[in-house]
Symmetry: C2
Subunit: 435 residues, 2 copies
């Protein structure tokens, strides 16, 4: 029974192509079923403000709240009250995450240069107000607060509001460490609506980031345009790349550390032989035995787990790029070499001494990563998500004169005479006399 826990499919079979096709479709979520309700929540909160938010919190979260926004949320006291090991770990994580994002921010500088008589530039500014959503319930993670809010803080965002229903001490401590200005005590679509439109007691934000359930995803998509949003997050994924020399015990441990997140998560193995798959499959039940979240992890492996077998290292890289997983763990020999071939991944964990868990908590890069194949075009949440940019253009009159023929030729080719005249009127001091 233990052996069938992890399905296996070898390249060239219909099982293999079927598994790849199912993986290719994993990012699709049909939000149309929940959209009518979410649309109604958005409209109602936009119209009735605080009162409507409180109604929905009662209806969907079963809580009666008198206050929505807390600027004095007791973050320092919450931090002081934590066990010393967790407190020290949170502080160390915040430091490491901040240092990584400061390095990342150095690529985001404004620039300005002259080319003849034209000054050209790009100005980078932090966003004014950002909303960060973190779910309540079984996925209530202070680490996600650090991983989302610190990039915004490093960008220089003036005001960060965290939405989280009934946040505990760890979350409030993390908010304190990450410079969160205020906590909105709400979840679900009602939290997204409150952040997007603002109410009497909650100022609206310019961008909302962070993962949530189907209602949150539907709400984010509907408020897009009113505010900016990050990509719509789906279930978490790991793809472990292994060869004959990989340690099945460590491969199994990495698959389980993904599987225990959620029944919906994807623990995926990509390797070179069915023999290796069997060694991992033999290892899994031993490690599952005493895992507190055993039933969840088992369900994730049964529903979404698959081991894909390909013929050589080249195919490991190619298939990994096709899957474009959130986390890619490279357990093969000479892991740096293979890792360089991975073009589509949220985060790459190089070598078997690098557990994904280190990246989830402490390494430094944000653990908020593109899922569902969005690594084809996406990026880890970063400082670049919390800035706006403006182009700057300044011509001298002489340079405008030198370029006028080109500008007016293109304007007139597109039928925009007014554009051509706006150039020519600068060059002819008193054109009306010329008519």
């Amino acid at each position: 029974m233990s052996r069938v826990l992890l399905k296996s499919a070898t390249e060239g079979t219909s099982e293999f192509s079927g598994a790849l096709a199912r993986l290719a479709a994993r990012g699709e979520s049909d939000l149309s079923a929940v959209e009518p309700l979410v649309r109604q929540i958005l409209e109602d909160i936009r119209e009735r403000g605080d009162a409507a938010v409180k109604d929905y919190i009662f209806r969907f979260e079963g809580r009666r709240v008198s206050q929505l926004l807390y600027t004095d949320y007791g973050g320092q006291a919450a931090l002081d009250g934590l066990g010393s090991d967790v407190r020290a770990a949170l502080i160390a994580a915040a430091d490491r995450i901040r240092r990584y994002h400061e390095r990342q921010a150095s690529g985001l500088d404004s620039f300005e240069y002259k080319e003849g008589g034209v000054l050209l530039g790009s100005r980078v500014n932090p966003l004014d107000r950002v909303g960060i959503y973190t779910p309540g319930g079984k996925a209530r993670y202070p680490s996600s607060v650090l991983m989302s809010a610190i990039p915004a803080q490093v960008a220089g965002v003036r005001a960060i509001t965290l939405a989280s229903p009934n946040p505990g001490a760890e979350v409030r401590a993390a908010c304190h460490l990450a410079g969160v200005e205020a906590i909105l005590d709400a979840g679900g679509a009602q939290a997204i609506a409150t952040l997007a439109y603002g109410t009497e007691s909650v100022p609206p934000v310019d961008k909302i980031v962070g993962p949530g359930n189907l209602y949150v995803a539907a709400a984010k998509r509907l408020v897009f345009g009113q505010v900016d949003i990050d990509s719509l997050a789906g279930p978490s994924e790991i793809l472990v790349l292994a060869d004959e020399n990989s340690d099945p015990r460590l491969v199994a441990a990495d698959l389980l550390s993904q599987a225990e997140h959620d029944e919906a998560s994807y623990p995926l193995l990509l390797c070179l032989s069915t023999e290796f798959v069997e060694r991992v499959a033999t290892e899994l039940p031993h490690q599952l035995e005493s895992l507190p979240r055993r039933s969840m992890a088992e369900q994730a492996i049964l529903d979404h787990g698959v081991a894909l077998v390909v013929r050589d290292r080249q195919r490991l890289a190619e298939v990994a790029n096709q899957i474009a997983a959130e986390h890619v763990a490279v357990h093969v020999q000479r892991p740096e070499e293979l890792a360089r071939e991975i073009r589509h991944a949220g985060a790459i964990f190089v070598g078997s001494t690098t557990p994904e868990a280190a990246g989830d908590y402490l390494a430094g890069p944000s653990h908020v990563l593109p899922t569902g194949g969005a690594a084809r075009y996406g990026a880890p949440l970063g400082v670049y998500d919390f800035v706006s940019r403006s182009s700057v253009i300044a011509y001298t009159l002489e340079e405008l004169g030198a370029q006028a023929a080109h500008i007016t030729a293109l304007a007139r080719a597109e039928g925009l005479e007014g554009h051509a005249r706006a150039v020519e009127s600068r060059l002819a001091p008193s054109p009306r006399q010329n008519r």
Copy 2:
């Protein structure tokens, strides 16, 4: 009659706050009316492929086409056949746009560094396939092809597909200059669906950018997640900042060069006295008189034009930041000084010798800019829109040992025992014997 063409509102009056409130809502577009039809188009094309695309081209564009995708679209011949002034201007524009974006790309380098026994990095890769939408009809602009495709080309995108119904010689010539691989001869929601899902004859892309009508916007929002999209573009806008020394003739010319784009566009003036507004209002009819697109420009001014009067330079900057316009033209004295105060704008045109038209065609930065207030959080289309990023993390075993206590403390605080064990199993060579 000429004087009332441009409505005026002075700060402190209800007209002023009403005008600002209407401007704040300008970015809202209700796509729900067209969504059911668009959803049906998307599903049908996904199911039936090429045949469905051709059906919709006939239904919505009135054309029967036998081929959808052209890789051999005769770009060089189209360029050679253009009038010499337009040809030279297109080539000059492509060169300038490419140089600006090469400068911009230098901020997007991958990085990697060691911190003790951890290697941390960020790898930046160009997207594999990008789709660029450019509308047909009255807004058929070769300049938009250059301004959208060249940033993608500079990013190193492997394959750029341009969607444009029945493209003319100028558009095909611009495609050639911008390295467009193939032209999809379709418009509307059917073009977006074809690019997002792919068909028998058209490969799917990873990201779709470019402005379009309501159907295009609704389709882009619905395929978001399947592919990445840029922000949903609305009508074009200019905000001219003027003081008593500004030249009403040039201010009027800039307002009209915006107004002639589209009846829906926003020509906005922000200045220091009603007297100055009157001088501009007196100028407008003179310049409108012989403008080929007069009726369109007049309608735009009547429907959306407004002159806002504030008391001092400080308020010019503050209100401009509140409006967050696509184009901000700074006509005041010491324009650089005021321009530095503008935090929210797509592009800033510094000084009255810098017409917006120069930026539309030749300066270098992309003219594809955030509209409808999206400049609060957005950016000009740029090289950064066409890359994906992956984090890289590599621990030595020693460093993992040194950090293990922090990682496991956080994992266990979040109830994720499997995460903690994935770390510990690396450090204990044979943990099963220890049970």
